[in-house]
Symmetry: D2
Subunit: 322 residues, 4 copies
């Protein structure tokens, strides 16, 4: 027999497109005859029973808004066996028979635990970092990248007018995907990511000086947050090359903004499929993109995966940004 | 033995990201030791020998520009056996041993013919319509969709303020992909595409009236160019529902603008791989996206393919935009 | 003695920045100790008593949204002496002692009549057309112009890639301001406005052919809605010059979108000053921009004014877009 | 007798709209029968004779580009009497009879000196900071403000999703105009500018806590560069209020980007009028906006002016952002 009532929450850092996922979850459940509770502020809100009944219009006119209408928060209490038990009890008290969790790997672990405590969960990867090992794509990644590109395109104007070098730190603590793709898109002379070690002289200075000889006078260097140190790097580059060099940290601006089409569409498809899984009695699953398609995996298997860095694309970047 | 000199041209309608492809072609060829000629205005320019020598800096600071720095044009003369022969002769005269052609299916047929006349060609799909049968993705599609979404998001403001219905025609003569994805992204109540027949009363009026009963007061209807007739449709909807209804044709604005990250990155990877194919002696190939990866196919086989419409996603759209 | 309760409404076509004005009105009144009623759907909503009590948080997070949170509508009933009387009675019933009206000249006439029926009104000019005679600036104008510029910048890419001419219709039925400023901003070779008669051969064809001789190959022609006829014009230009020419009507997209800084700031200052006027016992006033400053005028005097077209700037445009 | 040849240069920090000014200068001079030399990299380029002849097409398709096509640089050498003399000699050698200088107060002093050395100059205020005392408006200001607003609107999404406080540093070393207007436009609870001293407890904490009591859960605080110290400020606010608080420095991204309509139009009008002044034999003038109109002043008088901060608008901001 199908579920009568499900909950939906967003957890971890917010990401543009989360609202599209929430909307698809709510609409799919409602048109499939289930009730839907919106859970505010992630697992923390679940613990305190901070929920509201959603109808078809609760999610009107939100698909184009950044952030998450359900808010998000971290919860220390939930990160304990007692917390998980309490959350499961709250679900039972509220009549929640299944939960769709939108977030990153940390949120998936929470969902696995809640499933273990008897409340079936299905996850949707939502994080701007694209750092979910099991999925080629996470909701929010495209928007964050395009925001970064837009900002670096602006920097380029002033960098070019002054014959300067700009060293730009973009998001990505453990995962260099965002830096790699943004670096390609802005034509960065150098791209530094956590996955590839670099040699200051060979990989930065020599490359700059090679292109300088071909006539290039302004330079953009994209650095992932996980590499960091852009202020010192800018200083060292200016010292080594004599080219005026400035550091910029793009920061949290990259987290917001109206989601791109891709984030809205992927989130919509994932939200629909998450509910359909719950409806069909599946549980402990995560919706992912594999080989360009939206499919699903077991959460525990997904969490055990290791995401390979696209070294082939990185090498292509080096060849064309010269 | 590897090629010494290649040419690159853009053909058919322009698409954002074509410059990124040209840039990747030029840089890859030059760093692989080949010479590169930029051919202006497609096959027409090839016939008249309108070419220029490219160096590493010829393609500086163009990755973020819409349109095509090589210009594009239609050519009646090239569409004859004599024209193709003349173009091949011109290649030989100019020392062009291979050509990278960026465009749609029509441009691919031109490339197949030129290959047949002795000049190896490799193609890159570049068209905002995503109407290349052999590839899941064409350069320019993402930018065009996001432009359309941005425009409809603006329309939504005034549509909502006035409790109106907006009927919006988007690009897509034979292919409903753009209408489908834009329709999902803007939360359109109805999406009309050439691939799916529709019943005015059931698929439009009944849907509108159902959502109206749930409290919805403003409506967006997305119609592919290939369905057309938005002015009459708007008139009929206003008559049937009493809701003030306006038609808008987004038009050629969708063709331009700074390319999105996705178009820049896909174009860059495709440009690189196109040259590598020529370099390795392959010919009559088209670079495509299959299962989310950039691979290559024989042009003749690619042209024989039929692109399936994503009916599953269309049905999901109907369920969540309610 | 000061007013205890005021109302605020938006009327006529919506314009980006109206929300910023509503917000400033509500906050200023509330922090000055008054109550505020939001009146939905303009004079029509006032007639039916469709109002809601506003508090400081009612207008949170709306300053960046296009459209109007109060909705807008036309009202035939209000356009009669009986309608005005009924609206004034409704104000008295609801305890509304003064009303801030945001809209264009038509809305100002409504406010003058309501003042005449005993309910003091103050107006704020909000219309994307800048067609309010008494004010150098109307809320929404800057956003609409920048949207049009963004769209024409995109058109330029494809126009340039194909060596074409684009004839673009922009908003402005009676007032050529938007066409003039957009025309300057996009470098249009020709700008047609209702205020300046033109000769097809001399003002269009001769100018195009002069610049063609200097090397120009693509052209943008901006036409105000009040001149119209862009499809026929495009056809005639193509016939006369042999240059491929396309017509585009930007349409209602120009009405929406997140307001620019200028619209948000001017609307905020106007909203504040409107309430301060009511508070100080003034009535039948309209807030306007004169000589770059936000001041106020008598509505009746304001409605009698005739707005001069900036012919000097038009002549400058002709000299630099060549 | 009129001038035969003029030069044009951009100096100091680049600003969006400078290209529109250069374009208007070149076109106006050329259509008035003068020759025009583009001088690269400001006074430094003038000293070394780094110039090029401009024609009508030299400035095609640049009006929508950020930065400056003439590049800009600082020059120590020019800042000496010998440098000025050498620059004047170079003008005579190149046949330059007058120069249009686009930049800020520092650039105006250079123009005054060059005029003193016998080369008539006219200036155009171009700086994103709006810190030119004599003009209500400087070219680039509107673009920089809208860029900042767009970035803070994005920050708002994540700030709201997490119930946080964001402390944002915007441009403006000596001049709080940008912070004030951006602060109003984003609805900042607190705005800190160099012109107005503030008390941490009363002006920040008390205001935040007052609005918190009315239901507000997320906060934006805009700080001018000239006030600075956002990291420490964020730390202190978090300590005092318990609200999670993050600092962001928007940085050089604010300097670039396609100019807004306002910057393109004001720059165009100023460029035209600068040449007309030179043509009519006037010299040592600066084009400014006064009372909303584009007029001109003597440079020396202009440099002696002191710009008043708009305290009235600042007080309005405090009343409506609550």
């Amino acid at each position: 027999m199908s579920m009568k009532k499900i909950g939906v929450l967003t957890s971890g850092g917010d990401a543009p497109g989360m609202n599209a996922a929430v909307r698809a979850v709510a609409r799919t459940a409602l048109t499939s005859g289930m009730e839907v509770l919106g859970i505010r502020r992630g697992y923390q809100g679940l613990l305190s029973g901070d929920v509201f009944e959603m109808d078809l219009r609760s999610v009107s006119d939100i698909i184009h808004h950044g952030g998450t209408m359900l808010y998000t928060a971290r919860s220390k209490e939930y990160n304990t066996p007692e917390g998980v038990q309490k959350a499961a009890d709250m679900c039972r008290k509220l009549g929640i028979e299944g939960v769709v969790v939108i977030g990153g790997d940390g949120s998936f672990r929470g969902a696995r635990d809640l499933t273990g405590a008897g409340i079936p969960c299905v996850c949707i990867p939502g994080t701007i970092d694209n750092d979910v090992a099991s999925s080629e794509y996470t909701v929010g990644f495209d928007t964050a990248m395009n925001t970064a590109v837009d900002m670096v395109d602006r920097l380029r104007d002033t960098t070019e007018s002054h014959d300067r070098c700009s060293v730009v730190e973009v998001m990505g603590r453990r995962c260099g995907d965002l830096a790699l793709l943004v670096g390609i898109a802005v034509g960065a002379t150098v791209i530094l990511v956590p996955e590839v070690p670099f040699d200051f002289q060979k990989d930065i200075i020599d490359r700059m000086q090679f292109t300088q000889k071909t006539g290039k006078k302004h330079f953009i260097i994209v650095v992932a947050e996980g590499v960091g140190g852009v202020t010192e790097l800018a200083h060292k580059i200016e010292e080594s090359t004599g080219i005026e060099t400035r550091a910029t940290v793009l920061g949290h601006v990259q987290r917001g903004g109206s989601p791109t089409l891709r984030d809205r569409v992927v989130a919509s498809e994932m939200g629909y499929k998450a509910v359909k899984l719950l409806e069909s009695g599946r549980s402990n699953r995560v919706i992912v993109v594999r080989e360009g398609k939206v499919v699903d995996l077991d959460i525990t298997e997904a969490l055990a995966m290791k995401r390979p860095f696209n070294k082939e694309l990185y090498d292509i970047a080096l060849k064309i940004s010269i």
